[in-house]
Symmetry: C2
Subunit: 450 residues, 2 copies
């Protein structure tokens, strides 16, 4: 089959996620990738693209990483999958042990599932049932934030706060308490960064004070609301939020699906805030982006609330997926953790984080750049129509899409969200590659905005 | 590390799905599997167990199947994962094309996701949004069945009908219309099989007649309500249900997660009924049980409702997971389909299905066997306290658990649900192995029940 046939078949048979398929009636077609290496992916015509989004924020050690491929194969030749109730296997045990050791035993137990959304569903159900089991049946509600994204299953959608994705499903969602997004650049309290006293947390404090008896947990993306547009906030916000949760006896669920595994420069983003959440969800880079696998970590307090003689089955956490703790994915995750340790990832990333910081400076004076923000290996440039008023380009102007196309022509996969252009490459990107990524991004933006 | 250490670590760090962890304070510990081959899994002490449940109904071609391991490795060396919006890859395209060809183009499009639960979430959201886009905003409700199981994410839980698993989460679930389970052995209409005129469908007919304007879709497990206790019903029920859905313009969502890929002797269970659903969900054996991967297949009618210029983004199906259409899982699924075809699976299974039918006869006269049922490669024996009254053993008597332990001592993994002992082995089981499986199961049952 030649190239045209593959693309024609794709468009005939495949319905792509988050995609209006009619757009492909135009000249731009889906790009068929046949190979990957390091930060590059290569299409059927031999064109190479810098994967500046780590293929939806999953890849960390580069594409087709040979050690991970080998670990996968060896596991597949031993045992590829086994029922995880009544049975267990070494890859899942080692991985759980390492994950708990890595958080210094401050979280104690690992519940496996298949992807980011299911890790969130597990967290929500666990937190909810916890209070039921503790005899606080009234604690049924969750606090979540504007601009939050926690996945696409309906539990995760319920706590999500992006209207474009979530609104249409409203009648299928449960009610939550929605709080302000800690969007520093567009402060919901009208403050400037320098004078901020975390006023945006006041709403949370008030609601906790008034209604903590009804509230099971707060769920939040740590430091960065990613899908909401790489909205970044201060670590102190998390520190304060933890204090509030403690004060009002409400659980803190930390969604590290996108930020976990060194994306912000530390293993988990919550470490920047010096806190420990009650529940941590992690996925994506857990397998270095090879395979879907997720974990929900929790404290002893949660675990032991479910631990009982349980004559009637009511204290069991009835959640599970067929492939829970898939040995193949666990084997890859174990090899990933070994590599991260050998590379001394936190140190390894420091010069790269600096290279981004330096390189982003060139965007500062560009008239349509409203904000530049960075947390570790994630950085973002918010594009505005008017720098002074912070007015956005309208949806119909399709700025993001145009920059995407301009990037592709330059051999770089940029995938701006709304008016937010961001960089989140595999960690193996070199400093030279960071410079060239930023240069290509700058050129792409200028091509579109003049 | 020796055996005890692995198990100690497991119990310290891992929270197993659907498991009351306190049970492991007793003598029975989780079994640590280190290897698999064909229908056998082998533990750390070298004990082998016949995997009669296909490791939660996923495995079809045997464990650690070498061709699948090889396909996996080759793909991992080329490209392991790539963002699936704007980009595509050959493994996903070939797989989608084959899946559509296999249903004779009567379903037309493939939406990928990660597991059975997400395939259901996709189906529910798609069906719901479809009617919104068609201007029938009132069609928001789903009909689902007692004893149904569709997964553990909260959308899937909402349509589930097993109180033990689902009830505690009630306030987080959306409202659905619950209909009777087509449980022939315990007919909800008090009929005997011979005189059945599908009376149990009358409720569905009445509700469709009265409220079709409010109803988006009916969701059902075809032929077998699996997690509900391998409850089986006639193919005509599905045929009639399809007619009702047509008559009242309601979508039919067919959950083939457990039954797809030849479990009932045909590729999909719906084929036995001579119908075509509007939406088909499939997972588990799609990768022969190697890796999590799911598809939701749909008609042109659904697809084109979302296909539009879409200036405001409202006609896009905003659903996706980071690992959507993971190339590794797709490569394994492609190899699986190739093997299924080479083996001529439908023919290959016929003698095995007969071997089960024959072998099950020995259970018939046992005083505590209330019902024997079979659809293809799934068979079940329902154990009762009293054959005449069909009275069940009480939950506390833990009949299922005892049979499980008795089975393990004999080297067979049986996993009765409630009082239902079932057999659902990998397809590569031989006729001799079927005989010995049934003999061991019989002996295990007798050991427990006398
Ligand atoms: C913060 C966050 N949570 C959850 C998810 C959902 O993960 P998945 O796509 O694997 O379902 C994502 C995915 O982007 C995410 O960014
Ligand atoms: C009929 C049916 N639907 C959906 C599911 C959920 O699939 P998963 O466990 O992969 O989430 C299952 C799992 O057993 C099932 O049997």
């Amino acid at each position: 089959m030649d190239k045209q046939d593959w693309i024609a078949d794709d468009l005939k048979y495949v319905w792509h996620p988050f995609t209006q398929m009619k757009q492909y009636e135009g000249d731009e077609k889906p790009i068929c990738i046949v190979k990957g290496e390091g930060i590059y992916i290569e299409d059927i015509d031999g064109n190479r693209y810098m994967d500046s989004v780590s293929s939806w924020w999953v890849n960390s050690l580069g594409h087709a990483q040979p050690r991970l491929a080998k670990a996968l194969y060896e596991q597949a030749c031993a045992i590829e999958q086994v029922i995880f109730a009544g049975f267990t296997h070494k890859p899942a045990i080692s991985l759980a042990k390492k994950l708990i050791t890595l958080v210094n035993n401050r979280l104690k137990h690992v519940f496996y599932s298949d992807n980011g959304s299911t890790a969130i569903e597990v967290a929500l159900k666990m937190a909810y049932q916890y209070w039921q089991l503790k005899g606080k049946a009234s604690k049924k509600k969750f606090i979540a934030f504007e601009n939050a994204y926690h996945g696409d299953t309906l539990g995760a959608v319920s706590v999500g706060g992006i209207d474009m994705y979530h609104k249409v499903y409203r009648p299928l969602l449960f009610d939550i308490i929605r709080e302000k997004s800690p969007y520093c650049y567009r402060c919901p309290c009208g403050k400037e960064k320098e004078h901020c006293r975390l006023e945006c947390l006041q709403g949370v404090e008030e609601i906790l004070k008034a209604r903590h008896d009804e509230i099971a947990a707060v769920i939040i993306e740590p430091l960065i609301q990613a899908a909401g547009g790489m909205i970044m906030y201060k670590a102190e916000y998390l520190t304060k939020l933890r204090e509030l949760c403690d004060a009002y006896r409400v659980l803190l669920i930390d969604d590290e699906v996108a930020m976990g595994f060194y994306r912000t420069g530390k293993l988990y983003a919550y470490e920047h805030a010096g806190i420990v959440p009650d529940i941590v969800c992690s996925a994506k880079a857990l397998t270095a982006g090879f395979l879907p696998l997720a974990v929900t970590l929790c404290t002893d307090e949660l675990y032991y609330a479910f631990y009982d003689e349980d004559k009637d089955g009511l204290k069991t956490f009835y959640h599970g997926h067929s492939f829970t703790a898939n040995p193949l994915a666990c084997a890859v995750a174990n090899e990933n953790l070994a590599i991260l340790q050998e590379m001394n990832m936190e140190e390894y990333l420091k010069p790269k984080i600096l290279a981004f910081k330096r390189g982003l400076e060139k965007f500062r004076n560009y008239p349509h750049v409203g904000d530049i923000r960075q947390w570790g290996m994630v950085s973002a440039v918010e594009i505005v129509k008017d720098k002074r008023t912070k007015e956005c380009f309208a949806y119909e102007e399709q700025i993001g899409k145009k920059i995407y196309s301009a990037g592709l022509r330059r051999g770089v996969l940029l995938r701006p969200m709304w008016n937010c252009m961001y960089f989140m490459p595999p960690y193996v990107i070199t400093e030279e590659e960071i410079d060239s990524l930023l240069r290509l991004a700058y050129d792409s933006m200028r091509e579109v905005l003049g």
